[in-house]
């Protein structure tokens, strides 16, 4: 495997059993949360993953960081399949691969001071000793824009944006090469959101980090990602360079998703041609046959019902899973 790949997922599958299990412990329903997802994250780049609720993007975040084990498939970090690691090798992997969560309130232990939250992982992984721990933690706090004098404060003393900075400092404390950020700014006010996005971009530049950036906000992903993957019901339906995907979406779902975003420009209010999807996302317990998007797609034919479209690359290198991909570029406000 080439050394410029930071993280690679191959055919990741995660099925959850749900529903009342019978006397014999037989699960009644299988939720196909993630169903055959592959992607490549190049070193120093940001891969954005977008999709609506229930499309499996958060499950994917937990799979690639191995917070949960996949039903099948593999994840390669530095050429090593992390889904088979255990013991010491697993702990070393966790150092290199860190995660930032959405909710800065529930992801910090309220009984630990900031010094502990950031310092404990460093000490456990043997990155610092007792003597230089405080200095290292305070350097990190400075780096993410926190006042180092707040070393002994507790999470409740900080605002939402500051807490998200603590979460980022904790992720950085182990000097990882890859950070998976699961909706890192969606709980924040827009002015704070911009601060955190700028911080993440600067850290990436300075430290050469690679990001998997998961969000439902398409314009945030547009801003930060080099490549973007669009998920629908557990599968990637389109992946490519951000510019290509946003300027000329090939999958009907991507096109509909982009046209649904309200544009912050009142003069475009009635000019943009809107695609309105009907209905809701179907259940992942019993997804539609063939193409999973066909029940809401205005182009669907019998072919879409019978045959699942494979992911295929087009001339621009963008990959799309559709029998009838869009061709004409549309302009996006």
């Amino acid at each position: 495997m080439s050394s410029d790949i930071a993280l690679q997922a191959i055919d990741l599958v995660k099925h959850f059993s749900t529903g009342s299990s019978g006397v014999l412990g037989r699960a009644t329903n299988i939720v196909q949360a993630v169903d055959g997802v592959s992607f490549i994250l190049p070193v120093g780049k940001t891969l954005g993953i977008v999709g609506e609720s229930g499309c499996g993007k958060s499950t994917l975040a937990r799979l690639v960081t191995r917070l949960i084990d996949p039903s099948s498939g593999s994840v390669f970090l530095d050429g090593v399949d992390i889904t088979t690691l255990s013991g010491k090798a697993l702990r070393e992997m966790r150092r290199k691969l860190q995660i930032i969560f959405q909710d800065p309130y529930s992801s910090l232990n309220p009984r630990h001071s900031i010094g502990q939250i950031i310092g404990d992982p460093m000490r456990i992984q043997g990155i610092v000793t007792k003597s230089n721990e405080k200095k290292e933690v305070q350097d990190l706090m400075q780096r993410v824009g926190l006042n180092p004098e707040h070393y002994n404060r507790y999470p409740h003393e900080f605002s939402g944006g500051q807490r998200q900075r603590i979460g980022i400092a904790r992720a950085l404390s182990l000097r990882p090469s890859v950070i998976v950020a699961d909706e890192p700014v969606s709980a924040l006010d827009v002015s704070i959101q911009a601060q955190i996005l700028n911080l993440l971009e600067n850290l990436q530049k300075d430290l050469g980090l690679s990001f998997v950036f998961i969000a439902h906000d398409l314009s945030v992903v547009r801003h930060i990602a080099d490549q973007v993957a669009v998920m629908y019901l557990g599968k990637i339906v389109e992946v490519g360079d951000s510019a290509t995907v946003y300027n000329s979406p090939a999958h009907p779902y991507t096109k509909a998703l982009l046209s649904a975003v309200p544009v912050a420009n009142p003069s475009l209010r009635n000019s943009a041609k809107r695609i309105r999807l009907v209905g809701d996302v179907p259940s992942a317990i019993d997804p539609p046959s063939g193409c999973r998007f066909r029940t809401r797609c205005w182009k669907a034919t019998d072919l879409c019902e019978a045959v699942e479209p494979p992911l295929q690359a087009d001339a621009t290198g963008r990959v799309v899973a559709c029998h009838f991909p869009e061709e004409a570029p549309i302009s996006v406000g």
Partner: protein
Amino acid sequence: MSQDVVLSVKNLSVVFHTPDGDVVAVNDVSFDLRRGETLGIVGESGSGKSVTASSILRLNNSNTATTTGSIVVSGVDVLTAQDSEVRRIRGSEVAMIFQDPLSALNPYYTVGKQIAEAYLVHHPRASKADARGVTLDMLKKVGIPSPEKRIDEFPHQFSGGMRQRIVIAIALINNPKVLIADEPTTALDVTVQAQILDLMKNLQSEFNMAIVLITHDLGVIAETALDVLVMYGGRIVEKSTVEALFSEPTHPYAWGLLGAVTSLGTSDRGELVAITGSPPSLISLPAGCSFNPRCSYALEICSAQVPLLRSVGTQGSVTACHLPKDEILTFGRKAASR
């Protein structure tokens, strides 16, 4: 007052009494709303936008909050009216929908029963059969497929977008003049948000009602509102038409908001212009203009004196800022063109 004004708020202030001290959540807010119009209120958490909205229906607890000023709906001041009069206004004159449709519905009753209840409260002589007929009509209007079947289902059997349609049906069943929508699409996915915003627009013209739309999303404002209030620290800092807000914003906070928004169109990866610091605590608001500690244009007077709303610019905007008018226009247009 002009005939067309359906809601008139004057000098509204709301103070919550807490163990840590008094919190001035809303401070001297005034605005008028005309029939058929949409007024957008934008602001960050704690800016007072939701408290303003709930005051209109007198939903603030009078034991813990002091509400002053006046809120006139159809010639009645909601703040001083009898309880029975306020009950009549709630639902029939002014209705409200909330952010989270699941917690706005009662899980123990069918959606049909909940919609019909809202109708029967204001039409006590109507028969149950009548109420059911009106409910079915309403379900059709809000776009619930096969309403005859779904009228007898429970909230948990509906998706998030469908639940918000039910909530809208309850709000509109008595044909109110004003609909207050507090972050109605924030909990919804973007494709469903588009559906609900379309629905609200269509129903607005059908019922000729005015909408107060509270949101933190400038995109939603740009697509729906006619006039916009920008709130910060409990006060209105800018009042303008939606075109003016996006082409000639007049308050430094509005400039910051426009700069902080990520957009689908931008391909360059330039830095976002973030507003430094975080929103102020309402218990200890900064002296003078609440925004001055975060404002890069702040003058000496800004930390001494609260700026009053004054008219600025060529498009009828009013703004609460001490900066000279010509500077406001120059910086504002620059912020808008970014």
